[in-house]
Subunit: 147 residues, 2 copies
DNA sequence: CAGGATCCCGCTAGATACTG
DNA sequence: CAGTATCTAGCGGGATCCTG
């Protein structure tokens, strides 16, 4: 007979990862995915590129080329874009497909895992955009009070 | 008659902020809220402290004292905790209440705005915890393939 | 107890230049 | 086109000491 019961195993699995604990790997994972560029890349791939002009009409998730992403995420350096994409690929959130044309074509696409994270994070970018004015107002009052 | 129609104003408001644009203030805001400590602080205040042992039973949002937060967010330095709380207060996401006892008592609580962001972000921490194993597996296969 | 103020280090973002 | 390589400045963030 096993020394650990099924109940004990379930209990352990339940608290297996806790990001409140410093040493927990999920803390590191949380740190990686809590980044500006990750949020924007997921939003780009998950919504099928730039926001449509006839807003409200969000695109489907689709593969995008490196240069497309580079153009859409204005101001991102090549290094950061490549680096972030690599890390996402390593974690299994995106796939990297190389088509040996001349010149070579590389496209990125969300995996199912990446798509599930996108669903969690798509709201963040929107939240920042829609509540920007509130935050700006709050800052003004805060700064004026502090004198 | 105004030179801008209501429709034009609505159209402008609709694309007022876009985090894909480098110069947009929402890009900076996104950067601020996309941080490990922000995510964890919001999770702490929004779920009323540490995860209940009888899991599934999430607490209500409630005020927490500085020392409570400090204990819960294992490994956070005083500097980062104070700094992050200040920034959240300035942006109007949390309130800071000082009770003039001896010694002084300081508590933090989510505002409505902070609560709305918490609803967007609560999933992130959970996602990291529940998909940790998947990610770990993906990393292994990635690293082994790359030789 | 709840910070403020400093010092300081590491990393990492960003710019630039080069390449298959 | 889609990167890699290299360098550097800046700052995120930890450690320490101090205070109301």
């Amino acid at each position: 007979m096993a020394t650990t019961t099924a109940a004990q195993q379930r209990a352990q699995a339940k608290v297996e990862y806790d990001a409140f604990v410093a040493a927990c790997p999920s803390r590191k994972l949380l740190d990686r995915i809590s980044s500006k560029w990750v949020t924007l890349i997921l939003a780009a791939l998950g919504n099928g590129g730039p926001p449509q002009l006839d807003a409200g009409c969000r695109g489907e998730p689709r593969a995008m080329r490196y240069s497309e992403l580079s153009r859409l995420l204005a101001g991102v350096s090549q290094k950061m874009l490549t680096q972030t994409l690599r890390s996402l690929e390593r974690d299994g959130l995106v796939t990297r497909t190389v088509t040996p044309t001349v010149p070579v074509t590389v496209s990125y696409e969300l995996t199912d895992l990446g798509l599930s994270l996108h669903h969690m994070m798509r709201g963040i970018k929107t939240w920042a955009e829609t509540h920007m004015d509130d935050v700006l107002t709050n800052r003004e009052t805060y700064d004026s009070r502090a004198s």
